[in-house]
Symmetry: C2
Amino acid sequence: MSANSRNNYQAQMLKKKNNIDLETIGEFGLIRLLTEKIKLKHKSSVLGVGDDAAILDMDGKKTVVTTDLLTEGIHFDLVYTPLKHLGYKAVVVNLSDVYSMNAKPTQILVSVAFSAKFTTEMIMELYEGIHLACDIYNVDLIGGDTSSSMTGLTINITAIGTVDEDGIIYRSGAKANDLICVSGDLGGAYMGMQLLEREKKIFTRDSEIQPDLSGYDYVLERQLKPEARKDIIDLLAKNRIKPTSMIDISDGLSSEVLHLCDASDTGCKIFAEKIPIAEETRKAAEEMNLEPVTISINGGEDYELLFTTSTRNFDRLSAVPGISVIGHMTDKSEGKYLIIPDGSSTEISSMGWNSLKR
Amino acid sequence: MSANSRNNYQAQMLKKKNNIDLETIGEFGLIRLLTEKIKLKHKSSVLGVGDDAAILDMDGKKTVVTTDLLTEGIHFDLVYTPLKHLGYKAVVVNLSDVYSMNAKPTQILVSVAFSAKFTTEMIMELYEGIHLACDIYNVDLIGGDTSSSMTGLTINITAIGTVDEDGIIYRSGAKANDLICVSGDLGGAYMGMQLLEREKKIFTRDSEIQPDLSGYDYVLERQLKPEARKDIIDLLAKNRIKPTSMIDISDGLSSEVLHLCDASDTGCKIFAEKIPIAEETRKAAEEMNLEPVTISINGGEDYELLFTTSTRNFDRLSAVPGISVIGHMTDKSEGKYLIIPDGSSTEISSMGWNSLKR
């Protein structure tokens, strides 16, 4: 989807004639529309949508479960978020939590509440993205709930996955001196949102001006259509690199590294110049007078994996593309610090990025 | 909680000083407050709150999973719903879905989004009800999500349970001639809501008039603090009565019996005079010029169990207190009918009670 069609998308959806009347088809008709194409892919999915609960059979493997609630106006803005992308992203952020336990996602349950401004077609568009993510990540949609809300759209997804007992990676396994590693690059999703917010303001002031988002494809995609790093989990296994602790970056690097330190009872040293930042992110940040390093540390929603591993794995790590070593764990007494290229250091602190802003 | 204190509750909560500042404690501080008292009760709860996902070990049993999303203004009205009761009910409605598969609930995940009008104390009050339900129903709270919303309160709960493979009861197992049975009595929760809505209207017109809800304890409790019928599941097992199909009554008897018929490919005959209605429900309905039978058929939220079982179990059923035989399944070609005492009959139809009203 091009930047331009992305921006006209919502307007089109609102103009589009409501061909399927929700009052006529009712809740059960809607559920049928949203779930009729589902084909269960996993042997462990014994029963999907259609009874009071879904049934799973995990064959003695450990089961991981995680859940995330997204609300309109806080976690997403429908002025610039296509519903299909939103559905895709809502699934991905949950799968990311499953991967960060080193587990493989197998099933999801999706709850959606929406107000009268949403047509059946819009909800189906949202589910198109949900189904697409299920196909790409090989996950079964096995249940959920659809209902009304007074205002806006709310999506809750619960993801389930499996992992061999000795494969689980907790937040709590890091030791002093372990290398701190991150996949991909950081700050892109944050810059994507800044750009979308800027264009929204311009558009709100003068609706004649069409937003110009050309040339920003990378950061926009990081914000609107993030991916969970299934590939990194596979690559680590293939290269026999076992993380000692792992978490996905949803709230921002600073917040996540503090979680690892707290759970593992360690300190940390992160080297600012080692943090991977894409050229496009750096360029967008500088244009908007923002400091790229600050953004890469505090910007959320990149859904990259942050993990620690023994220094013994340093050589093996360099064989894996897309992983950067950005620092190391320390003894707890040494504190948690970001080291700036000039040699000075700043204590890392964070309270969670955007989840309770008011 | 008396009717009067119930009505003053919300006002008190709003007046109460906000002692714990959410901006200061942040999301992670709030999560700590809400989860610090949790002690995991089940061996299958390997890991609870605190990592990216919870971990379960179901020991080869079948796992059932269900989820429900409740939004303010649609599923509950905080003018007359104490937050503790709301938390309790939000858990119960999910456990009810687990029981209706003949499974035992073992874990829940709770997601909550709330706007700036909610204080930390109010959210803790909500969680008090959630924790109470967990204690009473022997369930572990193992994860969730807390975040902001633009307006109002949204709660999503995912419940997990276990069942032996041959113990699962689907909606689809009923045969023609099977008896149709229901636990407890119906229509009470609906009358409770009608009363609360009536008093809210009076109170809204003139806030000097204190709502008079005395004498309506039974129907108010049915609405504000429903229970899931764990006891019925136990009694059926003890009396070796195996249902052929089962569902819980959340949307109303008519809607649920249609689900059983559709899934089982049968018709049904329900006898109006056999539907159990409490004296208090009948009294409240007549006072408000409503037809008790209509309410018992279409009123939702009673969370009783509706099940079918072989006619061979007729004698055994009479040994179980609190179960009424209200009709029987028929061949699909005979349709789905409610039989009125004068011998006339009405076709049963329903589109779900309150889930997509606009």
